[in-house]
């Protein structure tokens, strides 16, 4: 068996919104080339923690994060860290597909362009094609790249957002409820895509859909009221979890 490498090492992380503590002393290791699912009731801190990984919480004035989060041994909580560069390395996909009001092509080309990742147009064309192919969307949109990104179906828009996230060649992809606005077919496509993408990326997905977490992830972390209650192999978490709180949550006994 291949040894699991740690991609993100989260150590003693606390998060405060003003005086209210949202995350309590979380330690967690996210393994490379795996899908890790964060589950837990609304307000448990799973999205807050996810947003620490690309420093999105910096956008909220009252939010304070302490502890350390090492991305390949670099502490991404370091004040001097280049945030723009961090966000090329840690891409994000949101609950609601949010393509830019631009063409399909420009949606994907936007990141590489502003970060100056491509030398010329032909290289940019290549990146766009490769990203759309990786996102499983190329065949559906290759003849309409100049049409608006907002004009395709919801499931296609979400895959466009995934293509946009991988166009900057990130290491980690964060997904916050990526399928909750999608129908079952589009959901199955995104889940299939996650299995494909994890070969090259490390994926962390926040989901309220227990079955989705059980289907797509290798590891699952269960959060409750800002505490990490249980973290382990997904198969064990969903068949016989160690903690009664985990069981009560995943079987619909409290929420």
């Amino acid at each position: 068996m291949i040894k699991e490498q740690t991609k993100l090492d989260i150590d003693n992380v606390d998060v405060f919104y003003g005086k209210k503590q949202a995350i309590f002393n979380v330690d967690l290791e996210i393994k490379k080339n795996q899908v890790t699912a964060f589950i837990g009731p609304s307000g448990c801190g799973k999205s807050t923690l996810l947003r620490c990984f690309n420093r999105m919480n910096d956008l909220i004035d009252i939010c304070k994060v302490s502890g350390s989060i090492l991305l390949d041994s670099v502490n991404i909580l370091d004040k001097k860290l280049d945030l723009v560069r961090l966000r090329t390395k840690v891409g994000m996909v949101f609950q609601k597909p949010n393509p830019f009001p631009k063409s399909i092509y420009d949606n994907v080309a936007y990141g590489p362009k502003i970060h100056g990742l491509c030398e010329d147009i032909s290289e940019l064309d290549e990146v766009v094609e490769k990203s759309l192919k990786s996102a499983g969307l190329w065949n559906e949109v290759k003849d309409r790249l100049n049409e608006p990104g907002t004009g395709i179906s919801g499931g296609q828009q979400q895959r466009l957002c995934i293509a946009r996230a991988i166009a900057t060649n990130p290491d980690v992809i964060l997904m916050d409820e990526p399928c909750s606005a999608l129908d079952p077919i589009a959901t199955a496509r995104v889940e299939e895509l996650m299995q494909e993408l994890k070969k090259n990326y490390t994926i962390i997905v926040v989901t309220h859909n227990m079955q989705q977490a059980a289907r797509v992830s290798e590891k699952t972390a269960f959060f409750h009221l800002g505490h990490l209650i249980e973290f382990g192999n997904t198969e064990e978490i969903f068949t016989s979890p160690n903690e009664i709180k985990t069981q009560d949550y995943i079987t619909g006994r409290f929420g």
């Binding site: 227990m210 079955q211 059980a214 969903f238 068949t239 016989s240 979890p241 985990t246 069981q247 995943i250 079987t251 619909g252 006994r253 409290f254 929420g255």
Partner: protein
């Protein structure tokens, strides 16, 4: 103890309650068939044996109802953790109970054949086996009704006693049959009855083990104590 009535969804609780009741009904029906079988054997009553055999259809119907309920529950509720284990466990238990129904039927078919033979000398041993297996089966039903997996250990240890009892009877009768040729036909039927009762004990143990599995998620090693014939 395994709690199945404390979900947020009351409809889910009700469905599990109904499933539990159907299994309990299957258990009660078998218990009833079994009691009649002991009397039918003791009193050489072929009408009673025929009635028991005809009851086996009800067992098959109950098993089908249980499997249907579980199928719908899995599709609708997509159960996890203990709920998932309960449904897997109930699927297995329904299967074991169905097998027990078959064994009881088979015992009664042999009883009907045996009526014309004199088996007075062996009767007591078989009645003893009947009552040991009955106790074990009742204990496993109790274990299910109370979802008390500690009782499962008791059932496992008692199954070993039945195995010993069976082995003793088997050797004793075989030895007799080798000396008295008129015993070969009834003796063979009695050996099958004894074997069926011994198998019934195994299935009672399987039921108890399924309760342990539901509670703990651990599957008992199949290497539970066995004695060779």
């Amino acid at each position: 103890m395994i709690e199945t009535h404390d979900h947020i969804s009351s409809a889910f609780n009700n469905e599990l309650f109904h499933l539990n009741n159907t299994l309990l009904e299957m258990g009660r029906t078998l218990e009833n068939m079994y009691e009649k079988s002991i009397n039918a054997f003791d009193q050489k009553n072929d009408a009673a044996s025929k009635e028991v055999i005809s009851n086996d259809e009800k067992i098959d119907d109950l098993e089908n109802s249980i499997i249907n309920q579980i199928q719908v529950l899995i599709a609708k509720r997509q159960p996890m953790a203990v709920d998932l284990r309960v449904l897997v466990g109930c699927t297995r238990i329904a299967g074991y109970m169905e097998r027990i129904g078959d064994l009881i039927s088979s015992v009664n078919k042999r009883n009907i054949t045996l009526i014309e033979y004199n088996i007075e000398n062996e009767k007591k041993d078989i009645i003893d086996l009947f009552s040991s297996a009955m106790k074990l089966f009742q204990k496993s039903l109790d274990c299910f009704a109370r979802k008390d997996f500690k009782l499962a250990e008791v059932v496992r240890s008692q199954d070993l006693d039945i195995d010993k009892q069976y082995k003793y009877f088997f050797n004793k009768l075989l030895e007799k049959m080798s000396r008295q040729s008129k015993l070969v036909v009834p003796g063979t039927h009695m050996l099958f009855i004894a074997k069926n009762l011994e198998r019934l004990g195994d299935h009672a143990t399987n039921i108890a083990d399924s309760i342990s599995y539901m509670a703990t998620g651990e599957v008992k090693a199949p290497s539970r104590p066995k004695i060779s014939e």
